[in-house]
Symmetry: C2
Subunit: 310 residues, 2 copies
């Protein structure tokens, strides 16, 4: 079975044709500041038409960077991006434009499906996947099924569990989420407010995780403190996920994981010390598929997940 | 169907005979500092024999104050209390002593089952119940079923989700749990470390929530700050539960809820302001059954929950 896969992020979309565990062909579209999903869909449709014409597919798996009601195939909330998305009928669009069924899923959930299907979580049934990037994704699978809940919001907001009740307000509305304490977008805010920042090595650089880790490795004291802050935030989020969802494995992906050598041992030690798991020890592992995860996740989305509502 | 119900806490046990939504008769046993479950079981057995002799029951529903593997009818971890409990075969004990099947459940989970069966959550399918007392219980039901997970630990540790990653170490091993930041046992620790405590009205009193609320109401500034601290801790725990489990209703029980008049409006406002729930607003409600909840929960534990493993 061939599937057309779409992974739509805030700044780019990737369209691909997937068969089994292989991505046959892909196209990446830059979306510089595109505010409207309706407009973006045109570019996506052109790409899909090209992929589809060469090698007909049997469905479209669509990953979206926001809250998704996958049972009703609707986008529920967009947290600032593509605010017109909640009014769009993507299933109708796919039917009319391609004559194909479409399944919609949150992009982080799709990535976990992909890692379970073809990556770091193959054979696992109880997993939480964190994506440490511009934001923080956190997705739970229990007993081989994505946790969904009444409004499809359970187990998909692992980056928006408060780990600092007196902390920074998050874009989601909550206070002190892992994402608002230690993610790509919040790092500059955290860093500029850090005592001693102005005289730190970091002050002369663009503030991102790459530079933060580089300055810390070079011995900058403030950078080391902030790295330690971020690690402890991610550690608390990991404990929250373990205590909430009872997984045996945590998988970590996202751009920040370029320093997996530093992050994974810390998280494994942190969980060994602080997670209440009388049955044994939760394992921690790096994601294997990078940006391919969400594309490959489109296959189990059709094979194994929800019955299709037409 | 009549059920024998046991609710075993750290300092007392209640045994009861329950039929439908009625508690026919109950006996409460004081357990002053009893360290062993084996010894405690003798007292429980005497009470149950008395209840059973007068009016034969069809099973024993046993609520325990620790982590429980209800599918295997074993106690998984006790967090300091009844450390011999993990080695005991309660199902065997019930079979030999009474000729009855026994089902075992965590006491906070049983209380939620009870509130769903006969109390504040009747007719609800997606609920989280918090118990604010000496510790903090936090239990999730999704789609009408208790959330369990691989090792029966999912959805039962709502008081042990870190809300302060730089906070106080909890008895569970984690850092900054809601329970270690604002519960009966941690309140004295939090209070004595508070700036200005020594000169506050609270310093002359036994430190518990009743006195804390009384001093705050009387205008003591430090007490007001600590009340505010506790409310925000509970608010963060509420958001964590909503973002993890996607409930429509939060039910609050436990001794601290004597000040429900102050706590519930705060939590409702907090969730309205900070929970990311595009589908609508999560409701907040007081538990109705008090200590009866876990006893009444023994009925649905037999009727609706797990298949019985003998």
């Amino acid at each position: 079975m061939k599937i057309l896969a779409v992974d739509l992020g805030g700044t780019h979309a990737t369209c691909a044709l997937v068969e089994g565990r292989r991505i046959l062909v892909r196209q990446t579209l830059a979306l510089p500041g595109s505010p409207s999903l309706a407009a973006t869909l045109e570019a996506i449709a052109s790409s899909l038409e090209e992929l589809h014409a060469g090698s007909p597919a049997q469905g479209i798996g669509f990953g979206f960077c926001g809250l998704v009601d996958s049972r009703r195939t609707r986008i529920a909330s967009t947290n600032g991006k593509y605010t017109d998305a909640v009014d769009l009928d993507l299933a109708g669009w796919a039917r009319e434009r391609f004559g194909l069924p479409l399944r919609l899923e949150n992009d982080a959930r799709l990535a976990l499906l992909g890692e379970c299907f073809a990556g770091a979580a193959q054979g696992e049934t109880d997993v939480v996947m964190f994506t440490l990037g511009t934001g923080i994704g956190g997705v739970a699978m229990i007993g081989g099924r994505l946790l969904r809940g009444k409004h499809d919001q359970a187990g998909v907001l692992g980056g928006h569990i408060p780990v600092n009740f007196a902390g920074r307000r998050c874009t989601c509305g909550a206070v002190g989420c892992a994402e608002s304490e230690a993610s790509g977008w919040s790092l500059p805010l955290v860093t500029r407010a850090w005592p001693g920042f102005a005289s730190s090595a970091l002050a002369a650089r663009n503030i991102d995780f790459q530079n933060l880790f580089a300055c810390a490795t070079a011995g900058d004291a403030v950078s080391r403190e902030i790295v330690d802050h971020c690690l402890r935030v991610w550690g608390a989020a990991a404990v929250a996920a373990v205590h909430s969802f009872d997984p045996e494995l945590l998988v970590y992906g996202g751009g920040v994981m370029q320093r997996a050598d530093l992050i994974l041992p810390f998280l494994q030690d942190y969980l060994n010390a602080h997670a209440w798991t009388p049955w044994g020890k939760v394992r921690v592992r790096a994601a294997q598929l990078g940006n391919d995860a969400a594309l490959l996740g489109a296959v189990p989305l059709f094979d194994q997940e929800l019955p299709l509502v037409r």
